[in-house]
Symmetry: none
Subunit: 251 residues, 2 copies
């Protein structure tokens, strides 16, 4: 299966070998490097910048695998290629890390950081939601709102609260903002992990969040951009205010 097209480079080992001075030692590696550079230079670009496997390439170039690896190591240090076990050898710089570890960020963040980030992101997301929400979005929010009031346990309430906030983020119709919201949310849940409320089996009927949430959804439904943002900001500030005594009690 010859996926990758490449041409054979005639060995020019001897030419360079005898021409250089004081290379009684380690000239093999240098010759392989020259061979490899010549190979790369005359190589056409197949889009995918993958080189043949070492075991093939060393035969193609007429050098041993050890020497080829020395040459490849030089090019890798220069940033001209990058390698990975099981993947192969590729031309160019190593691609940026494809994934972000939630726990890594969460481990260096505290609840205050989380609250600050929420206060920055979520009001503006609510503003976008007020601009882009569909009727179905709003209907879904109203349904969650009603279910939130009917929650019979804090656990169920927090699940529904989560759902409502995410519905708002989804209504913003911006997958990137939704992605950032999800990242922030995952970190929040990691940071406040285990911080359960024990003061009552279910949220009281006059819990501030019910009215807060209603104001937010109402503003979104009325396409009141500023009102949605303000309502969300007020809600989060109230949540923050209630969080402080909890933290003090934990000390």
């Amino acid at each position: 299966m010859a996926k990758y097209a490449y041409q054979i480079v005639k060995p020019i080992w001897n030419r360079f070998n005898v021409a250089r001075e004081a290379d009684r030692d380690s000239n093999g590696g240098h010759a392989a490097l020259v061979q490899l550079q010549a190979y790369l230079a005359q190589r056409e670009q197949p889009g995918d910048g993958r080189l043949p496997p070492e075991r093939e390439l060393c035969e193609t170039l007429g050098v041993s695998r050890g020497d080829l690896r020395k040459a490849l190591a030089v090019l890798e240090k220069d940033g001209r290629i990058w390698r990975h076990v099981g993947k192969g050898t590729f031309i160019g710089t190593r691609p940026i890390s494809e994934t972000v570890a939630i726990s890594e960020i969460a481990g260096r963040s505290n609840p205050s950081d989380v609250m600050r980030a929420r206060l920055i992101l979520e009001p503006e997301i609510a503003r976008e939601a007020a601009l882009h929400a569909t009727f179905d979005d709003i209907a879904g929010m109203r349904q969650s709102l009603a279910q939130t009031r009917a929650a019979t346990s804090w656990r169920q309430y927090e699940h529904l609260d989560n759902l409502l906030h995410r519905q708002i983020a989804q209504a913003a119709r911006n997958t990137l903002l939704l992605g950032l919201f999800d990242v922030l949310n995952a970190i929040r849940r990691t940071v406040v992990w285990g911080r359960l409320r024990a003061d009552g089996a279910r949220p009281p009927a006059d819990h501030h969040s019910f009215a807060d949430h209603e104001r937010i959804v109402a503003a979104v439904a009325e396409r009141d951009l500023g009102g949605a943002a303000a309502a969300m900001r007020a809600h989060l500030q109230e949540v923050e205010r209630r969080l402080i005594p909890l933290r003090q009690a934990a000390e």
Copy 2:
């Protein structure tokens, strides 16, 4: 392979069926729900909170798969279980994904989404930076600023521009905001990948970004919170304005 131990619950279908009033319709779903709740209640916790597959469980409980699925849907909506195709059904809340794939978000985002998100995040990050930046932070920004002016190629300029914006985010002294900035930045680089400028070998001396950046850094240095946010917002809006003709030219 019976990985999961569970006991058979004797059908109590009839008891509930005849006891309820006015349930000539849709009592099947309710009976299945009661069966399922009884099953979950008497079930011991095997650490792994996995339930048997639907096809087994409906036989065990003596209900049809359709009714079982209705009951499972209710519990899922309550946040008591979570399900996923190919994985199974599990007790508890859906686990948060430990890693977020950049390309997954980037693949569903467009440059407009990116710009909107930047306009939301970065001005507020600049505000935080104005509040928390140390002298070393500001000195580093000024150095990057000077290097940006001295860039000899667009590629080098963009590298330094990147660095400056990240220094600002770092100065906010909020690892969570910095993490969100990094995520956003990685997505931005993926979305606009390959959108290279061909109109000149290096940025012109009167490029708007130079003055923009100077205003931002100056506001941060003077601890002018609102000024830093406003300067960053103006900068990004200018970037956005310059982006539009590029997009039109691409059509």
